[in-house]
């Protein structure tokens, strides 16, 4: 299937980008043929609706699934309307290559409800404070 992974760079060694709407790049991988393509996220600089804009971009690319850190509710609604499966929980400490391997092993769970509050595709990562 055509899987889109949010990325901070163009290739498989780039790090995963945890937010969807403002992710600089999308790496689109055919999980069977392993054909890879990367595209810039032109919705990144949008003042409003970056998540919806990003959803439009990957929907137009024919993505069937999305792997990212977190998706806000507006983007989630758009992705669902386009029948794109949403997988959350990818970590910025993984490369795209590693994330893809984990995905193939079934490491990520499909999200059925958005985890962020509105505009919530933008939570600070936790950690000890």
């Amino acid at each position: 299937m055509k899987l889109c992974i949010t990325s901070d760079g163009k290739d498989l060694d780039s790090s995963v980008e945890e937010t969807f709407g403002r992710s600089p790049y999308f790496v689109i991988v055919d999980t069977e043929t392993l054909e890879t393509k990367s595209i810039r996220n032109t919705a990144m600089r949008s003042g409003h609706g970056a998540g919806i804009g990003a959803a439009q971009i990957i929907s137009d690319e024919g993505a069937e699934a999305l792997l990212t850190g977190i998706v806000g509710p507006n983007a989630f609604t758009a992705l669902k309307a386009a029948h794109i499966k949403v997988f959350e929980g990818a970590s910025e400490f993984d490369s795209i290559k590693v994330a893809l391997e984990k995905f193939k092993k079934g490491f990520y769970k499909e999200a059925t409800v958005p985890s962020g509050g509105p505009g919530g595709g933008r939570r600070f990562r936790g950690g000890r404070w």
Partner: protein
């Protein structure tokens, strides 16, 4: 790294004074970034001896521009603008850019292609160094709008700075009101402190602010500033808090030392550390620390 945001709904309840003092206390034990997202009237740096390190323009606004040479005065744009930003003078369209929302409706209807929408500077972000911390402060340009987007940029810059210096905590002084800039300020944070005062006006605005907070499902608590001012109003606030399951984190007594410290451009906990108000804010700091350690939940830390 955690972020706590202080908002108030109503202006003037003492939000900035509390944020400054809270920051002053917590920065003694932790690495802290103070984010000032009250972009209409950013004041946090004025409470400290702040040294300006850098300032950068922010272009987070879009505005229309009418090219007079191409314009044939058909006036289609006047009706197209739902924000009343274009009026007529001497038969020609006059664009009052202050009211333009950059939606582009005018440029769509213009038969001559005479209208362009451009990205505009609407503010700047200044970074200040203070003795134990960093302040990242956003300031809206006079007459501008889109403060929500400017607030987004301030938060982003604060997060970057926090990453750079390995900070544990971002304390965000939020904008007043209940609109879009406040939403931008509380998005993505770990805890929201709603500051209020015991007056009828402030209670009305407290209700409004909780309508917004609830929508985001964020853990939150109330601090009553100027406590003791008006018992009837204070009782109403406590009732409201109880009915809505929101903890009262602390009550900061009404105390002249606060405006006097502000007049001297200092956090009250530094200027008058023994004042009742300072003691109240220290209690608030203690509760805030405990709450953030618990990951935002309260586990029995309630203040009544």
């Amino acid at each position: 790294m955690k972020e706590v945001v202080i908002i108030s709904g109503k202006g003037g309840v003492g939000k900035s004074a509390i944020s400054a003092s809270l920051g002053a206390i917590l920065m003694k034990k932790h690495k802290v970034v103070l984010a000032d997202t009250d972009v209409d009237a950013p004041n946090l740096d004025l409470f400290f001896t702040a040294r300006l390190r850098s300032s950068k323009d922010v272009k987070a606004s879009e505005k229309a521009f009418i090219n007079c040479e191409k314009c044939t005065c058909c006036l289609e744009c006047v009706e197209a603008c739902k924000f009343f930003a274009i009026t007529v003078s001497d038969g020609a369209p006059v664009l009052i850019r202050y009211f333009c929302e950059g939606c582009g409706a005018c440029s769509i209807v213009c038969p001559e292609g005479a209208i362009e929408i451009k990205d505009m500077k609407n503010g700047n972000i200044a970074t200040f160094d203070i003795d134990n911390a960093v302040i990242v402060s956003g300031e809206l340009m006079i007459g501008e709008s889109s403060s929500g987007r400017l607030v987004d940029e301030v938060k982003r810059a604060a997060k970057e700075e926090a990453g750079r210096i390995n900070a544990d905590l971002i304390i965000t002084d939020g904008p007043p009101g209940t609109g879009c800039p406040v939403i931008s300020a509380i998005k993505g944070s770990d805890y929201v402190i709603a500051a209020t005062e015991p007056t009828p006006a402030a209670l009305s605005d407290l209700r409004r602010i909780f309508d917004v907070i609830r929508h985001f499902d964020l853990p939150s608590g109330i601090v009553i500033n100027k406590a003791g001012l008006h018992q009837a109003s204070e009782d109403l606030i406590r009732d409201f808090a109880k009915q809505n399951g929101v903890p009262i984190l602390a009550a900061v007594p009404y105390d002249m030392s606060v405006p006097e410290a502000t007049a001297r451009a200092m956090p009250v906990v530094e200027a008058y550390p023994d004042a009742p108000a300072s003691k109240g804010i220290m209690r608030l700091a203690g509760v805030a620390e405990a709450v953030l350690n618990e990951g935002g939940s309260l586990s029995g830390i309630f203040r009544r």
